[in-house]
């Protein structure tokens, strides 16, 4: 028999009770009351136990219910949070599926499921949110701002929300990448700018944000960074533009200077790469270091150098203009600008105080003014030149007329004759010339209202002075002529007195007056003593030769005389009118007879002969001239004479001795006019250049051979 547990229990209890009641108590003999009490207690205890158990069971049941409710609630919560319907909607229907335990049994797995899902979902959220956080942090900046992790909104774990978050994440990702890109671009630009500007890229970047320097590591993407970076880029761009403009200005200046100074193309080549960018815009300049400080300095230096070259050229130009000005003034005989003023200006230019261009302008103006004035002076200046050269010819003519040897056919005599003729013509025209010039000058002065200056002197004064001189000179000439006439008269008187003819009046055979000047050191200026002996060194060929050695020697030796050629002899061969002051060579002073020793008859015959022409020539002979022994020579000469063969002494030989008295007054040569008033006259020269016969002959020969006649 299977005992029903409860039955079992009941049996047990019964038995127990039996035991108790019947056995025990009886044995014990409990009272009824006690028995009742114990039975009541027993019942009570048993009730208690029942009650406890029932309570427990109740409680279980309640727990279950609660659990189910909880589970259901949780499920609902989860579902609502997740926005999903639960798998099973057990709560909706009243229909219980079974017992509580069964119910629970079904709910729990659902719940578990949902919880799993929720967790999953939650994880997703977490993930996204973390991502978001990361990115946000990235965006906001490393170490700059760490935002607290935003809490998950547990109530909304819906897909929708997840979606939202995803979108947000994407957005953020995009933003981040945008920023990265921006930064990259900026960095590129920056790099380019730095390269162009010659700056250290890393340094610049690190100043913006240190994290940017490391291409691998995390970078700040913050607004600040980007802004700063942007600002840096902008700034560098500005700098670039600035420098570029400066460089372009320099290039422009360079081009101007090159243009101004015609710089050769080779020099320009070097800077071609700069000047080609002269109109470039900012973005076109990309070459490394093309705008670096150093480079700009380099270009600047070149511009400065060119500027200096220009300055010096300007200076040169100024000098050139200045000399141009001086030249014009000189040519037109105007007084030039004072030098000191110009020198100061030059100094000022050099020290940069004064701008050369201004000075140049000034000079140009001055030059054009001067040119104008020069033009107005031109006509008069031409006339002045003519007048001056006429004056030169006049003074040349004066001197020429004084030269005795001017008819010698020496070198260029042919030419000087022509020149003399021209000069005479010119001199005749001089007064008219001067008059015309003066009147023109006066007119000019009236028109211009200023004096006409020639090298600082008033032209009219010069002309006046000249006129005065001319008058003086003419007077002087007149005086001389008168004086000569007087002299002539005196000598003619003596002639009458002493019967000697101091000088022959006409030479034979159309001979000209003696012409050869004394040689070498013997100047022609010494006074002659003894009746104006005119010594010529030339041995005369024909009739006019005189043997006057004796007188000559004595006269000379004692008194160191040389003949003074007359300056006023006219050279017309026909005239032959010698000044009584001059003598033909070797003409006897007097023809007194030789003293005692003379055995020669012939000399006697000669005494009265005053016809110098009749005398044949006597050979000139040499005496030893070493000793200046007058007497000895005289003796010897006499002997020489004696020794002559009759053949040679066919004609009469006058043998002059020293005249006892020198009766002819001492002669003074007409001193040439002192014409040094007119500054144009050359100073008188004492020496005359000697020429040998051969030299003269050669000169003549060459002239006649040459087809050109002046």
């Amino acid at each position: 028999m299977a005992k029903d547990p409860i039955l079992q229990v009941e049996t047990t209890c019964g038995s127990l009770l039996y035991e108790l009641q019947v056995i025990i108590w009886d044995e014990v003999g409990e009272t009824e009351t006690d028995r009742d009490k114990m039975l009541l207690e027993l019942e009570r205890e048993c009730l208690e136990v029942y009650r406890r158990k029932v309570d427990q069971a109740n409680r279980c049941r309640a727990q279950l219910r609660q659990a189910i409710a909880d589970a259901e609630a949780e499920l609902a919560a989860i579902c609502s949070a997740m926005g999903e319907r639960p798998v099973h909607n057990t709560r909706q229907s009243d229909q219980s599926l079974g017992s509580l335990k069964q119910e629970l049994g079904t709910i729990l797995p659902e719940l578990e499921e949902m919880q799993k899902r929720k967790t999953e979902r939650r994880n997703q959220f977490l993930f996204v949110l973390e991502e978001i956080e990361n990115i946000t942090n990235d965006i906001k900046g490393q170490g700059e701002l760490v935002l607290p992790k935003p809490p998950i909104d547990e109530t909304d774990l819906s897909l929708r929300k997840l979606e939202e978050l995803h979108c947000h994440l994407q957005a953020l990702e995009k933003e981040k990448s945008d920023r990265v890109e921006t930064i990259r671009k900026h960095l590129c630009t920056l790099y380019s700018h730095c390269s162009v500007l010659g700056m250290d890229f890393n340094e610049v970047v690190s100043q913006v944000n240190p994290t940017l320097t490391d291409p691998e590591g995390p970078r700040s993407l913050s607004d600040h960074t980007i802004d700063t970076l942007d600002a840096a880029v902008q700034k560098l761009r500005e700098v670039k533009i600035q420098r570029m403009q400066k460089l372009q200005d320099l290039a422009t200046t360079m081009l101007e200077l090159w243009n101004l100074m015609d710089t050769p193309i080779e020099e320009q080549q070097e800077y071609q790469h700069i000047t080609c960018n002269i109109a470039a815009s900012e973005h076109e300049i990309t070459q490394a270091n093309s705008l670096s400080q150093d480079f700009i300095k380099y270009v600047e230096a070149e511009v400065v150098r060119l500027g200096e070259v220009k300055a010096s050229k300007m200076k040169e130009l100024v000098m050139k203009k200045r000399s141009e000005l001086e030249e014009i003034c000189r040519k037109t005989h105007m007084l030039p600008v004072s030098d000191s003023a110009m020198d100061q200006t030059i100094v000022a230019i050099e020290s940069g105080i004064v701008d050369a261009t201004l000075v140049l302008e000034h000079l140009e103006q001055h030059i054009s003014k001067v040119k104008e004035e020069a033009l107005s002076r031109k006509e008069i200046l031409e006339k002045v030149e003519k007048w001056l050269s006429a004056c030169d010819e006049e003074s040349w003519l004066e001197e020429y007329n004084r030269d005795d040897n001017r008819y010698n056919a020496g070198r260029g005599a042919h030419l000087t004759l022509k020149r003399a003729e021209k000069a005479r013509n010119l001199v005749n025209k001089l007064p008219v010339m001067v008059e015309a010039l003066a009147s023109k000058t006066i007119v000019w002065e009236q028109e211009k209202g200023i004096e006409f200056l020639y090298d600082g002197i008033r032209l009219l004064s010069m002309l006046e002075e000249y006129n005065l001189l001319r008058q003086e000179r003419e007077e002087e000439h007149r005086r001389q002529r008168d004086h000569k006439k007087l002299q002539g008269q005196l000598i003619a008187e003596q002639e009458a007195l002493y019967g000697s003819k101091p000088s022959p009046s006409k030479p034979l055979g159309g001979k000209k007056a003696p012409r050869m000047s004394t040689g070498g050191a013997a100047t022609s200026r010494r006074l002659s003593l003894g009746a104006g002996m005119h010594q010529t060194p030339k041995p005369n060929k024909k009739a006019d030769q005189r043997q006057a050695e004796g007188a000559l020697s004595t006269g000379r030796r004692g008194l160191d005389v040389a003949g003074l050629p007359s300056r006023k002899q006219s050279m017309d061969p026909c005239e032959q009118l010698q000044s009584p002051l001059t003598r033909k060579p070797f003409s006897p002073i007097s023809t007194t007879v030789v003293a005692s020793k003379a055995n020669i008859a012939t000399p006697q015959q000669l005494v009265p002969s005053s016809k110098s022409n009749a005398v044949n020539e006597i050979s000139s002979f040499a005496t030893p001239v070493k000793n200046n022994n007058i007497i000895k020579n005289l003796e010897e000469e006499k002997i020489m004479m004696m020794m002559q063969t009759p053949k040679n002494v066919a004609a009469m030989i006058p043998i002059p001795s020293t005249p006892a008295t020198i009766s002819v007054p001492m002669q003074t040569a007409p001193t040439p006019l002192n014409n040094n008033n007119n500054a144009r006259f050359l100073p008188e020269k004492a020496e005359v250049i000697e020429y040998s016969f051969e030299e003269r002959r050669l000169a003549f020969m060459l002239q006649s051979e040459s087809p050109i006649h002046v």
């Binding site: 008819y407 010698n408 056919a409 020496g410 005599a413 001979k511 000209k512 050869m516 004394t518 040689g519 070498g520 050191a521 013997a522 010594q535 010529t536 060194p537 030339k538 041995p539 005369n540 060929k541 030769q545 040389a562 020539e617 050979s619 000139s620 002979f621 040499a622 005496t623 030893p624 001239v625 070493k626 010897e636 002997i639 020489m640 004696m642 020794m643 002559q644 063969t645 009759p646 053949k647 040679n648 000697e690 020429y691 040998s692 016969f693 051969e694 030299e695 003269r696 002959r697 050669l698 003549f700 020969m701």
Partner: protein
């Protein structure tokens, strides 16, 4: 036109057509070398009175001299110094001056040609020098003035210039003159000739005087031994002088024109006289040029003691 008397000497045929600047007898024969303003140098054989050779130069020939019987030297206004070779008729230029060359001498002692020029230099030339003027010139010596005359004797060279300067050189040392003098004559120096005995030189001036000078300046050497010499002047006369006795020994009859040059032959028997206008009065009409060669009689040139008059000849 005056005819010279017969004693004037034999007139040479084919004289130059323009002024004669100089004539020289050869040292070895009776050949006469004549230089002329007609630009030619002529060689005459006096004994046969024939023209042996003629050289045409670029300008007036101002001087000439013999080297030996086959060649000589000539200088002139074309500034050139030439050697002329007679038989072959060829000439070559030894060198040049810068201006006309006035004188030329040949020094046997030094074996050199010496020229004086109006370019104020005296130049020495070696005629054996290789071709080309550069190689032949031995030296050039600046003078104070234009050279008018030169003379050689032994190792001495006397140079007379314009301005009456006289330089005396020793040919062995030309670096500077042995003596520098001034002519004692007051007028332009015309001609200088050394004494054959080498003790001094004669200097003549355009006045017509001749000064006798000695190289040795000591007293003892002076006033000794002038010897006899001939002078010719523009008066057309040739005079022979006794220097010691200071007398004129002889005067030849007047020649038609100025005496341009004189030359004694090697034995002194002949005197060549160039009668040719020397331009002392400039350009004028004149007698034609003529060369006379006369015998020199002893009586004409022998010194005579003093006080005896010359017997009329």
């Amino acid at each position: 036109m005056s005819q010279p008397p017969p004693s004037a000497g034999r007139e040479l045929a084919n004289p130059p057509s323009d002024g004669i600047s100089n004539l020289r007898f050869s040292n070895t024969s009776d050949h006469l070398l004549v230089s002329s303003w007609d630009k030619r140098v002529r060689l005459y054989d006096v004994s046969t009175n024939s023209l042996k050779g003629e050289f045409l130069h670029g300008g007036a020939v101002l001087d000439c001299c013999f080297h030996d019987d086959s060649s000589g030297f000539s200088v002139g206004s074309d500034n050139k110094v030439r050697r002329i070779v007679f038989n072959v008729g060829k000439e070559d230029v030894l060198g040049m001056h810068e201006k006309p060359v006035r004188c030329v001498e040949y020094s046997y002692a030094a074996g050199q040609v010496i020229t004086g020029s109006w370019d104020k230099t005296v130049k020495c030339w070696d005629p054996r020098g290789a071709s080309g003027p550069e190689r032949t010139q031995v030296g050039t010596y600046l003078q104070p003035e234009r050279v008018y005359s030169l003379s050689l004797v032994g190792n001495r060279l006397v140079v007379a210039t314009a301005g009456r300067h006289v330089n005396i050189y020793d040919l062995r040392n030309m670096s500077q003159p042995e003596q520098r003098r001034e002519s004692s004559l007051k007028y332009q120096t015309r001609c200088v000739r050394s004494y054959p005995n080498g003790t001094g030189y004669a200097l003549s001036s355009v006045e017509g005087r001749v000064a006798m000078e000695f190289f040795d300046l000591s007293e003892a050497a002076q006033a000794k031994n002038y010897g006899t010499f001939a002078t010719g002047g523009c008066d057309g006369f040739v005079n022979i002088w006794d220097g010691n006795n200071k007398k004129r020994l002889y005067q030849y009859s007047k020649y038609p024109s100025s005496i341009a040059a004189l030359s004694f032959s090697r034995d002194g028997q002949l005197l060549a006289v160039a009668s040719s206008y020397t331009f002392e009065e400039g350009e004028k009409s004149h007698e034609p040029e003529a060369i006379f060669v006369r015998n020199v009689n002893e009586i004409e040139v022998k010194p005579k003691p003093k006080a005896y008059p010359n017997p009329a000849a």
